[in-house]
Symmetry: C2
């Protein structure tokens, strides 16, 4: 029997940066994200008769740290299922991972849902999200569709999972993900978080300020106030980047192309419908817009020399079994 699961990546509006518990991978700050339809990962799992797990990601056999992260996740489920069976895991991203889009969120969300089904554990969504968190905090959010909140976790609280914020009727927002050219090697986010926590004089202030941005975003979401939501997102974004920039040595995720594009967006805002910016732990720039306006922004940005490729996406659904 093979279980096929589809899951989607998400982009945080209020940013996750910093862990309160490294071993349990608990975030020190709350985050709010939007699951994105266009960023899909499909993962298939089955039992195999073999000494080792078989892990294939995007058509290549995984080795090193990427393989180890998957095997550790499988080990956690084997412990729950009291099983020592080996698995085949074949995961494929339907979006350009090489271009710098993180796939661990969708990948581990899909894997979590798939392995739960394969072992017939019957975990509920909250439990699935909590398990996904151990592998990747953003994966905890990708278990759900739409707007998703992952609260901050207290050290030791292994039950922490995300929750969906249901809006009825839905609020049709969209995101444009601009992959910028010039990919200097970025500091991996786990390493960046640790360096920020250990050396940035602003880390404590970041952890204290982040819940305020998060609350502003939640209120804006409830009020469907795009301007307030966008402002909270931008404040969270720049504060996160600033906390990292003050680390020793400094962590600067923004590239010359990112800064140039930020300037371009400021100018385009004068004549286009509202759009708000965020940047993750890398140089790409993501815009939050109302869905009917995505096309105009896509058109305006498409020819910018800083952009290598650009993806427009509506809101994505929760991770689910597709076969």
């Amino acid at each position: 029997m093979t279980i096929h699961v589809s899951a989607r990546a998400n982009i945080a509006l209020t940013k996750y940066w910093g862990k309160s518990d490294r071993a349990l991978n608990l975030p020190a700050v709350p985050s709010l994200s939007l699951t994105l339809d266009a960023l899909e990962t499909e993962t298939s799992v089955s039992f195999i008769d073999a000494v080792d797990d078989y892990i294939e990601i995007n058509g290549a056999i995984a080795t090193g740290r990427p393989r180890a992260r998957v095997v550790e996740h499988l080990d956690r489920f084997r412990a729950i299922a009291r099983s020592d069976r080996r698995l085949s895991v074949v995961s494929t991203n339907r979006f350009p991972t090489a271009a710098g889009l993180a796939s661990s969120a969708s990948g581990f969300a899909a894997l979590t849902v798939a392995v739960d089904a394969l072992f017939e554990l019957g975990l509920n969504r909250e439990e699935l999200s909590s398990h996904a968190r151990r592998a990747s905090a953003s994966a905890a959010r990708s278990v759900f569709g739409g707007f998703v909140e992952l609260p901050a976790g207290s050290a030791g609280d292994d039950s922490l999972g995300a929750r969906e914020i249901v809006l009825t009727p839905p609020w049709e927002l969209a995101m444009l993900i601009a992959i910028v050219s010039g990919r200097e090697k970025a500091t991996p986010s786990t390493e960046g978080m640790e360096r920020t926590r250990e050396t940035s004089p602003f880390y404590r202030a970041w952890v204290e300020a982040a819940p305020g941005f998060h609350q502003q975003a939640l209120h804006a979401l409830a009020a469907r106030d795009l301007h307030a939501l966008g402002r909270a997102m931008e404040r969270s974004t720049f504060a996160f980047h600033a906390s990292a920039m003050a680390a020793d040595p400094p962590i600067v995720y923004l590239s010359p192309s990112t800064l140039s594009l930020i300037g371009a967006v400021h100018e385009l805002r004068e004549k286009l419908p509202p759009a708000y910016m965020t940047m993750d732990a890398g140089p790409n720039l993501i815009l939050l817009v109302e869905a009917p306006h995505a096309e105009r922004w896509l058109h305006a940005l498409r020819e910018r020399p800083e952009i290598e490729s650009i993806v427009s996406s509506g809101i994505g659904e929760e991770a689910r079994i597709v076969g």
Copy 2:
């Protein structure tokens, strides 16, 4: 009688950002600077029979805020001298101010020394520095030559002035000032400081951390340890920029060209003698090197497309009467 004074601009190694007293222009954090020989301003003052002061800066009659700042400075001296005489002030920068180098430090240092002489007040250096501070905190440092410290000021302490840190024999350092292309209009520093103080969640942490960077720099200076001095300078620099980046709206002084140049310096460091970076409230990049190595860095950077012009400078002397 006309008094001619020459003064030089300075570049802060540990950064001044934030005021503890706006009215008295007192800095909330200590700063350490190097007065630079190549950045010279010459200012001539004399009494005139006129209703208003005559203020000429770089060949043009000053108006608006630049004129008002000079007249306010003259008013403070008229109050001390119990005089209501009007003055002619003619000030000329011997370096490219249009290219983004601040001239208020050298300009107000020269003006302070000149007006003291014209009114025959006989103020000592510390008093001159304190008076210059009212017009511009960096001018308080440019009253002195070489390495200069301006302590943080407590609200109300109008006597605060800078002091020279005398090194015997001198330590022959140099700075390269790279004027980068693409001059987006920057937030003026006084406005940037106020916005940071009022809205940045990191301002308090900046004010708390800055004295530590400053002490590291002072110890490095005493030990003539360029690496330690450069590291303290870079930590102060990135923390200052990060504190501003977290303001609302964000203040980003670094331009795409600055970031590109920072990357280039990181690469050049692999094969060139040590050099350390700082950036003021604008996009220009300044390197601190040992004087014998300035030429190699100048040569390596000169052809970079991000740079519009580049100035190499040794250590400058105190503001002094030249005729």
